[in-house]
């Protein structure tokens, strides 16, 4: 009855359908790897909208090098991204807060950046590293909490804790084998041991390398499951925006990066 559940959730959450009943954060996790303890989760509303971002608390590493972290349960949705780009939090003359209004927001794309894969409830794609960072800065200003992209080390920590193996990948990840050449609704497969969805598949996720540059990690809907290593980092390259026909090329949108998305983390 997964599809029924999804449909009703979408309606109830005004388009924010990632397939987890709004009053429960446990069912998807139980359906997955049955961790010994229930992950701690919370919801952060985006002021001026009806949207919430669900965060899962992930414990730090045993050696203390990775601090405990609140991680978005899903990849960043178009629903959230649209608020930032199209200033949908300022409808009907209502203003956002001054700090958020002062943030540089990505420009509107020249074409359908969602590639027709799906929009409401789907992970944002075609997103550049700068765009992903700008979203975090805007959301931080908007909410007063510190959101950012995960570091490579944090990402590797999430992968190590995921409990996902080559044998169970198909239950967790939208890949070449099951995604049919498009992203799928975020969170529509089983969560991993930490309570996170789509860590391995659907879209590749921007992370920050030790030198501050952006790298894409994890697999996307076009990648073969056998070739997805959760902790492999692809360095940012101009090839991902080679066919942007404008000069200067967009710093916000990747014309050739239909699998480029991101997941946010919060330190508090």
């Amino acid at each position: 009855m997964r599809s029924t559940l999804l449909a009703s959730t979408v309606l109830a959450c005004a388009g924010w359908g990632f397939g987890v009943p709004s009053n429960s954060t446990v069912s998807a996790v139980e359906a997955a790897t049955k961790p010994s303890t229930t992950p701690e989760a919370r919801k952060e509303p985006i002021a001026g909208t009806t949207l919430e971002i669900e965060l899962v608390k992930v414990p730090g590493s045993a050696d203390g090098s990775i601090k405990p972290l609140w991680v978005a349960r899903t990849e960043t949705l178009w629903d959230w991204q649209d608020i930032c780009i199209y200033k949908r939090d300022q409808k009907d003359g209502a203003s956002g807060n001054a700090a958020a209004d002062a943030c540089t927001r990505p420009t509107k794309p020249y074409t359908a950046a969602d590639r027709g894969f799906g929009h409401g409830g789907f992970p944002a794609v075609s997103i550049s590293f700068d765009s992903a960072k700008a979203f975090c800065e805007w959301l931080s200003a908007k909410t007063g909490r510190r959101y950012r992209l995960p570091t490579v080390a944090e990402r590797q920590h999430l992968c190590a804790r995921s409990g996902i193996t080559a044998d169970t990948m198909k239950d967790h990840a939208w890949t070449f084998e099951n995604a049919k050449d498009a992203t799928r609704k975020a969170g529509s497969l089983k969560a991993d041991a930490s309570g996170l969805h789509d860590l391995y598949g659907n879209v590749r996720e921007w992370c920050v390398a030790p030198d501050g540059t952006g790298v894409l990690m994890g697999g996307g809907y076009e990648d073969k499951a056998s070739e997805i290593a959760c902790d492999t980092a692809l360095p940012n390259t101009e090839d991902w925006n080679a066919s942007d026909p404008q000069f200067p090329k967009s710093i916000w949108w990747l014309a050739d990066g239909p699998w480029a998305g991101f997941r946010i983390v919060c330190e508090e």
Binding site: D82, Y86, R88, T107, K108, P109, Y110, T111, A112, A113, D114, R115, G116, G118, H119, G120, D181, A242, S243, D244, P245, Q246, F247, P248, K249, D256, P258
Partner: protein, 423 residues
């Protein structure tokens, strides 16, 4: 150095045509010149025109040919300066002498009067017919962005100039880059050889969210505000259905190897109603009838918060082809999926143009892009007027959207069209 003298487009075009006829060069470069650099002038130095200049240089690099950008023209000085600075990054091939930089409504004349071999036409589409006519009259090869007109008089001007180009073997490539994109080329080969069976219908879409805008300012004239915010004024863009959706209709025409006989269309303006959005619509839907009782659904939307889809579907008796930038597949008896590598189509179109100019396969896409442009204009006519429009009606239509005089000053905005209440 903006020129404020009023210019009547019909008069000056005739003047250019008359003087250029004497000095027109033969279309194919003489043998001794084939090894020399092709000299390119750019008319319209916004993001796309400058981008196209880079693509022309990248095409030369990819083919070990030689190309130089030698002249720049734009209505606005800062656009010329931005392009000049940007292109200078390419070194000598992108370095343009100051004397070859032109601004104002007449900038195109300055560019055409230089010794360039090729011009890139990338101003807002409303100016294209006059610029194309002048370029061909002066014996230039042309790369022109789509669409190539915003009204039927403009389409007729382009058709006449394209025929002139054909006679003189001047090469013409249009910025419908799908025609130069490998996945589309392979898909069309399969469609035309019958892999879908009999082609019976099509659906095509350019649905996206909102686009850029330049907020009108009180210290600027109507004319300046409109040209800077050109998407939202039909005399400049043709409306978004012409400006963008022409790509998808061009693909349907390509698949059908025909142009439509008639269309009915609807459209309106619901979410983009503020003053800064001019008078154009934000959504259209159209039903085309093609020869042989074949039909095509076409849809174009620019509304924030809506699902995106930029794609064409070609339906046959034995299958359907699904086409979009970077991917193509056939579902059905002869299933296929494009798995090859392809070159950036925005570069490939310049490789193909440069090859044609240097004596390779001759390319003149002028007639074809004029016809595809007219198809998109038919949608706007049918939607704005609330009437069925036949191909002949569209082709012979007399509505001329261009202001009578081009100068910075008053230029009242067209009203929002209400179907059934207009011309």
């Amino acid at each position: 150095m903006i020129e404020h003298a009023p210019v009547d487009r019909r008069t000056f075009i005739q003047g250019v045509a008359a003087s250029a006829a004497v000095m027109a060069a033969p279309g194919v470069l003489a043998a001794g010149r084939r090894a020399e650099a092709l000299r390119v002038g750019v008319i319209g130095c916004g993001g796309r025109g400058t981008g196209a200049a880079f693509n022309a240089l990248e095409a030369a690099e990819a083919t070990k040919g030689a190309v130089r950008i030698v002249a720049l023209g734009d209505l606005f000085p800062e656009r010329v300066e931005g392009a000049r600075k940007g292109l200078a990054e390419k070194g000598e091939m992108g370095t343009v002498a100051e004397k070859n930089c032109f601004t104002g409504f007449d900038a195109y004349k300055g560019v055409i009067a230089t010794d360039c071999d090729v011009v890139i036409l990338a101003t807002p589409p409303g100016f294209r017919p006059g610029h194309f006519q002048a370029a061909i009259a002066a014996g230039k090869h042309v790369f022109m962005e789509k669409p190539v007109a915003v009204d039927a008089p403009g389409v007729r001007t382009v058709l006449a100039a394209a025929a002139d180009a054909e006679r003189r073997k001047l090469s013409v490539v249009a910025g419908t880059q799908r025609r130069h994109e490998q996945c589309y080329l392979e898909a069309m080969e399969r469609i035309h050889r019958g892999d879908l069976g009999k082609v019976v219908g099509a659906r095509c879409f350019w649905n996206q969210q909102g686009l850029w805008d330049v907020e009108p300012r009180a210290d600027r004239s109507d004319m300046e505000n409109q040209v800077r915010n050109w998407l939202y004024h039909a005399w400049l863009s043709g409306d978004h259905v012409v400006e963008q959706h022409v790509h998808n209709i061009d693909v349907v025409n390509w698949a059908f190897q025909a142009v439509p006989e008639r269309c009915v269309a609807t459209g309106g303006r619901q979410s983009r109603t503020q003053t800064k959005y001019g008078h154009i619509y934000d959504h259209f839907a159209c039903d085309f009838t093609y020869p042989g009782n074949r039909f095509a659904l076409s849809m174009a939307r620019q509304q924030e918060g809506t699902d995106g889809r930029v794609q064409e579907f070609i339906h046959g008796s034995d299958g359907v082809a699904e086409l979009s930038s970077g991917s193509a597949a056939i579902l059905g008896a002869k299933a296929w999926k494009f798995a090859g590598k392809q070159r950036n189509p925005y570069v490939q179109e310049h490789i193909d143009l440069q090859s044609s100019i240097r004596g390779g396969a001759y390319l003149n896409e002028g007639k074809r892009i004029a016809e595809s442009t007219l198809c998109a204009i038919m949608i706007r006519m049918a939607a704005y007027r609330g009437k069925e429009i036949t191909w002949e009606q569209a082709m012979n239509d007399t509505e001329d959207l261009m202001p009578k005089v081009l100068q910075f000053g008053p230029n009242p905005q067209a009203p929002v069209a209400i179907p059934g209440q207009g011309a």
